[in-house]
């Protein structure tokens, strides 16, 4: 399963009023291409801050907040895991699209192959955290993750290959922020 397929699958399983934070780089572009929705915040920079932005949203809203994160991104902002685990917002769902590398910059290996991200999340205090290795179980894994008590993290292993890169999002940062805030 490619990362883009996993992003599209996750978006297809969400409710209309779910709030999404899509990680900077390929994940935001793939989320935009698969299903653009005003209630998705598309990050363009600030790598490492996906969980922190999602936490600020989860502390401010009643709706479910879904963070679409990358493994390298999560490792860069590992403190965000501690904040989510420490504050324990029940309405936060954290999906890590784990390709084991820095795909956006050329596929350099990331330490996610050696660091158990689900165990780290559980240790930080997430109410539920699992790793899913096999693409045939991705849908069931996501359904279980969405129904689990929050905060919940699913570390979903996806292909490192990127056969059909998504284009940049054709909206300005200011437009993206205003549209998102107005939609909530």
């Amino acid at each position: 399963m490619t990362r883009a397929e996993a992003v599209a699958l996750a978006l297809s399983l969400l409710n209309d009023d779910d709030i999404v934070v899509a990680a900077d780089g390929a994940i935001a572009r793939e989320a935009y291409r698969a299903l653009d929705r005003p209630r998705t915040f598309y990050m363009l920079g600030s790598m490492g801050q996906v969980a922190s932005i999602a936490l600020g949203l989860a502390m401010s809203r009643m709706e479910r907040v879904v963070a679409l994160d990358g493994d390298g991104n999560l490792l860069m902002g590992f403190g965000g895991l501690a904040m989510v685990g420490g504050l324990r917002p029940a309405n936060l769902r954290h999906l890590v699209l784990d390709n084991g590398c820095y795909a956006t910059t050329g596929g350099q290996p990331a330490l996610s192959g050696k660091v158990d991200l689900a165990a780290a999340a559980a240790g930080a205090g997430y109410a539920w955290a699992r790793r899913c290795f096999s693409p045939e179980h991705a849908r069931m894994g996501m359904e279980t993750w969405l129904a689990a008590p929050g905060p919940a993290l699913l570390d979903l292993v996806v292909d490192a290959r990127d056969p059909d890169p998504a284009r940049r999002i054709p909206m300005s940062p200011e437009e993206l922020a205003l549209r998102f805030r107005a939609a909530l």
């Binding site: 920079g45 922190s52 600020g56």
Partner: protein, 161 residues
């Protein structure tokens, strides 16, 4: 009324959510924050994460503020430039004013350049004054909302009220 006049002033100016990392120069302010309801204060583990959480809370419809030691500004540059300045998100910031010649060595190199650093990125700043908490808070919130971006109140030890 909380333990901090500066926090009360910020709340009176409309701030609903605070995220930050403590500084001894902001001890009173953080003592006040500790009494807030759990969804109104985020004790962040690093300053850039505090800023990112403020971005999330503002996007979620709230009025926010961040607080930190000025040493944390180094961590914040990426988030300030690729989140708050780029997306144009209001962000009132309370930053301790450390780094005077009499301060400890580890505070001097960054601390003595904070005003120049903020000016370099066109971030408005002003020095907090003890006894003028309401005026400081109004300036901070109004400036960040007028500019749709960060604004900084530099708080010296004597201004932590």
């Amino acid at each position: 009324m909380s333990a901090s006049r500066r926090l009360d002033a910020l709340r009176a100016a409309g701030v609903e959510f605070v995220a930050g990392v403590p500084c001894s120069y902001l001890a009173r302010f953080f003592a006040g924050c500790a009494e807030l309801p759990s969804n109104d204060f985020l004790p962040a583990v690093r300053e850039d994460h505090a800023l990112a959480a403020c971005a999330g809370a503002w996007l979620g419809g709230r009025r926010v503020a961040a607080a930190m030691q000025n040493s944390g500004l180094g961590y914040c540059l990426e988030v300030l430039t690729s989140l708050h300045l780029m997306y144009r998100l209001p962000l009132p910031m309370l930053v301790s004013d450390r780094g005077a010649d009499t301060d400890y060595e580890e505070h001097r190199i960054l601390g003595s350049r904070v005003r120049r650093l903020l000016t370099l990125f066109d971030i408005p700043w002003r020095d907090a004054r003890a006894g003028a908490e309401d005026d400081d808070a109004r300036w901070l919130v109004e400036t960040s909302e007028r500019d749709s971006g960060p604004a900084v109140l530099l708080v010296g030890k004597e201004a932590d009220s």
